[in-house]
């Protein structure tokens, strides 16, 4: 279908791709795996002829013998959307907010002159129904903001396949979606490949996703394809060390032992938190939305407790209430027997017993402060700043594997993984009993993630603090927690020992979550000992 021959790309004299050669076979799913910055998205954009300004390409991208890289723009416009379709990672922003979904799907046909307006709408109706948005429930006159992320991704797919392209490029199509939605979208893509005899180039960072979907896999690192082959064979042999590292990291099990004590540290009793929804103008009445609906659980000293749920299930709201940032309407939260009342009057002595690490390593720090000042910020909770403040900051940094000399530097000088280490140092500085890890490893590449999980396990063994590990990623929670809570629509639907819950989930929702989580078949792991 498409053959890349020695594709190389430089953008503003920076090397992005080197000698990328790949065959995308007709009617098959080709997986392209790599960490962020490996060049996998740029490979797709090169095929589409949508590279950013300042790009210099060499090599060839052959479609039916014609080189796409040498095809004039006018010609490429006729190919795009017609013979090659593409969908992107972020469905929330991928659709024009001021046009209806029907118009946006029909547009694919209209701009290619394949149909008149009325026919185009007819096709749009049929395609939207095929991707799971039947007109009875999702009128063509709807606007993107009236749909969820998964539904919007379906609209994008309908748009991309409206003209039955021979190749669909999907760039991290499910990364921004919840795990159950991800499973549905992957199913949909697989179904379309079969029906339409279409090729699919599936770009992802997730080995488990390609393992379950692709016929052929190529692994990218630093702008090069380091290994490629039929999926099962590649996983069984894993000839290249990078592939093995990636694989090991994605299923990495930190060495840790259960050490929770029975003495309760954090007790949440019947917590309720409601939000007022936006008022519709001056005349409208605000609605109510119950984000946390009668949640109760206990976290023991030194325990690792997982809190799992999909976006919008209320786990962030619960976190904020535990941290004393939001008030509860009913129920109580106690830390070490003392009740947490949100707001500025919360006793600093309670507050310094719990700290937090957030998801986004890029948004967690004031860019104008030095690392020393950033890490020392929780000292605000002490009655007086300790005299050996600098020494304690240095010790905390050393503890997380950052050299203390970094104290005088600013945060933009650090990588994502290093930033997350600094965030952990900031959380450690007050010697808390509880650290809330709010999706703390979700934004990291798998290898960095494995290192941070090791670090967390080591710190817990040394300092004995408890973790509340909040994540949407079941496979991670499974590997690092003693007990787990499953949350849905503001309620805890299931809780228990992690191993027991994963082995024999009692609640239907838990079962659905586990079933939807992609995994690499256990008997494929042949290359591991190499």
């Amino acid at each position: 279908m498409i053959r890349l021959e020695a594709l190389s790309l430089d953008i503003h004299d920076r090397e992005i791709l080197r000698d990328v050669s790949l065959d995308i076979a007709p009617g098959k799913v080709t997986g392209l795996v790599g960490e962020s910055g490996s060049g996998k998205s740029m490979t797709a954009l090169a095929i589409m002829g949508l590279l950013p300004r300042g790009s210099v390409v060499s090599g060839r991208a052959l479609l039916d013998g014609g080189d796409l890289l040498a095809t004039p723009e006018r010609e490429m416009c006729r190919l795009r959307g017609n013979r090659i379709g593409m969908i992107f990672q972020e469905p929330m922003t991928a659709l024009n907010p001021v046009k209806t979904i029907g118009a946006q799907v029909a547009e694919t046909l209209v701009v290619h002159g394949k149909a008149r307006r009325a026919e185009a709408w007819e096709v749009a109706r049929e395609r939207l129904a095929r991707v799971g948005l039947p007109e009875e429930r999702f009128a063509l006159s709807r606007y993107p903001h009236e749909l969820s992320g998964g539904q919007r991704q379906r609209v994008c797919i309908a748009m991309a396949v409206a003209l039955h392209p021979e190749l669909l490029i999907a760039d991290e199509p499910t990364t921004a979606l919840d795990v159950t939605t991800q499973a549905q979208i992957l199913d949909l893509l697989n179904g379309l490949v079969d029906e339409e005899k279409m090729s699919l180039l599936l770009i992802t960072h997730d080995l488990a996703v390609v393992a379950g979907t692709a016929d052929h896999v190529a692994v990218m690192q630093g702008g090069r394809i380091v290994e490629q082959g039929p999926t099962e064979a590649l996983f069984r042999t894993m000839a290249h060390p990078y592939t093995r590292k990636l694989f090991a990291a994605s299923s990495h099990q930190p060495e840790r032992m259960a050490q929770g004590e029975d003495a309760p540290l954090l007790e949440v009793r019947d917590a309720v938190r409601e939000y007022r929804t936006a008022r519709e103008g001056l005349l409208g009445r605000p609605g109510r939305f119950r984000a946390v609906d009668g949640v109760s659980f206990t976290l023991g000293r030194g325990e690792s407790l997982g809190l799992v749920g999909e976006s919008g299930c209320g786990k962030s709201t619960l976190t904020r209430a535990i941290l004393g940032l939001d008030t509860l309407q009913a129920g109580a939260i106690r830390l070490g027997g003392q009740e947490i009342h949100a707001g500025p009057h919360l006793d600093p002595a309670i507050r310094r017993r719990m700290q937090v690490v957030f998801q986004d390593p890029y948004g967690s720090f004031n860019p104008r402060w030095t690392v020393e000042r950033l890490v020392a910020e929780p000292f605000h909770l002490m009655d007086a700043r300790p005299e050996d403040m600098q020494g304690r900051v240095a010790a905390a940094l050393t503890d997380v594997g950052i050299e203390p000399e970094a104290m005088g530097r600013y945060i933009h000088e650090f990588s994502g993984g290093q930033r997350q280490r600094i965030a952990i140092a900031r959380a450690l500085i007050t010697n808390p009993d509880l650290i809330v890890l709010d999706e703390a490893v979700s934004a990291l590449d798998v290898r960095v993630r494995a290192q941070i999980l090791d670090l967390l396990a080591r710190l817990q063994a040394e300092h004995g603090m408890a973790y509340l590990f909040i994540s949407h990623d079941l496979s991670v929670v499974r590997r690092v927690t003693d007990r787990v809570l499953v949350m849905r629509a503001g309620r805890i639907v299931e809780q228990g020992e992690t191993d027991a819950v994963f082995a024999e989930p009692a609640h239907a929702y838990t079962r659905a979550l586990i079933a939807a989580t992609p995994r690499i078949p256990a008997d494929w792991q042949g290359g591991r000992d190499a």
Binding site: R78, R80, L95, P97, V98, H145, L282
Partner: protein, 315 residues
């Protein structure tokens, strides 16, 4: 949509009430006794008393405010002290100069700015773009009343294409009237067009960087198609804000420009009223100007909802 419009209309009414209270307070309450202010230092106590009586100043401020506001609702703006005619009548005559002038200028400004901004954004980084950006930078820096003087100097004094000022009225047909308003409208429009063109350019460049433009390109739209079909309408949202804001600048600018061209509009009336200390006229005119600005804000809000479906709620 109806609900949205209603709630906006409610806040429009609220703004008008608050604005009228502020204006009333500044003009009639803060100076102490408006009557002696209006008559000046040399007035006899009898004259002041007579005027107080005539203006109804002996009533309590609240009652006076209600009478004034109630009067305006029925089109009664009071009687001018100096002209001895109803203010409404004065305003209506003058409005036929100022309003067409402001609208003419708004139309010119939009007509100039849209293509210019579009071209600059489409040819971003080219010599054309740099030329346009330089010219608009200059256009923003030029005070409109000075630009008006330059226009007079070139087109009236030297070339004699237009008259240097004055207004023939609408009775003699639209042709001469429009011609008399052309230089003033141009003087008003050019600085505003410069701002608008720059806003449109940056709004377009920003929308062209959005994910949905990439999606559109992946569907096979050319750069131009993506700009026209997807970017333009989204870029209209900030542009609308500026057009709304500009209306108040144009109104204010019109008041000043009328002085350059000796046009018998609201601007001339207001300055005459200030010199003659005719507070009744000043008060009503200020209220009228503020009403116009608030009304335009309301219309812009409705236009937003027309452009952006996220603001319309399904009812």
């Amino acid at each position: 949509m109806l609900r949205f419009a209603l709630s906006r209309a409610l806040s429009l009414a609220l703004s008008l009430v608050v604005a009228s209270v502020v204006i009333f307070a500044v003009i009639e309450v803060i100076p102490g006794d408006p009557a002696s202010y209006m008559l000046g230092m040399n007035a006899t106590p009898e004259a002041v008393a007579a005027l107080r009586d005539q203006l109804g100043l002996n009533a309590a401020p609240v009652a006076r405010y209600l009478a004034w506001a109630g009067g305006m609702l029925t089109g009664d703006f009071g009687t001018s002290y100096t002209y001895k005619v109803p203010v409404a009548e004065l305003v209506m005559q003058r409005l036929w100069v100022s309003l067409p002038l402001a609208l003419y200028a708004l139309a010119l400004s939009t007509l100039i700015a849209l293509p210019v901004g579009l071209i600059a954004a489409a040819r971003r980084g080219s010599a054309t773009d740099y030329g346009i950006m330089g010219a608009t930078q200059l256009g923003i820096a030029v005070p409109n009343f000075w630009f008006a003087m330059l226009l007079v100097l070139v087109f009236a004094v030297n070339l004699r294409w237009f008259s240097a000022g004055g207004f023939p009225g609408w009775a003699g047909g639209a042709g001469p009237a429009v011609k008399a308003l052309t230089l003033p409208a141009l003087a008003l429009a050019l600085p505003q067009a410069s701002i608008l063109a720059r806003v449109l350019r940056s709004a377009l460049i920003e929308t062209l960087g959005q994910d949905y433009i990439r999606t559109a390109r992946a569907k096979g739209l050319t750069r131009r198609q993506a700009t026209v079909r997807h970017a333009l309408r989204n870029a209209m949202i900030p542009v609308l804000t500026i057009i709304g804001l500009q209306f108040s600048f144009l109104l204010a600018g019109a008041i000043i420009i009328e002085n350059v061209f000796y046009l018998p509009g609201l601007g001339r009336l207001i300055f005459q009223a200030i010199t003659q200390r005719d507070l009744i006229v000043v008060e009503s005119l200020v209220m009228l100007l503020v009403f116009a600005v608030i009304l335009v804000t309301f219309l812009v809000d409705l236009a937003y909802a027309g452009v952006d479906p996220r603001l319309r709620k399904r009812v």
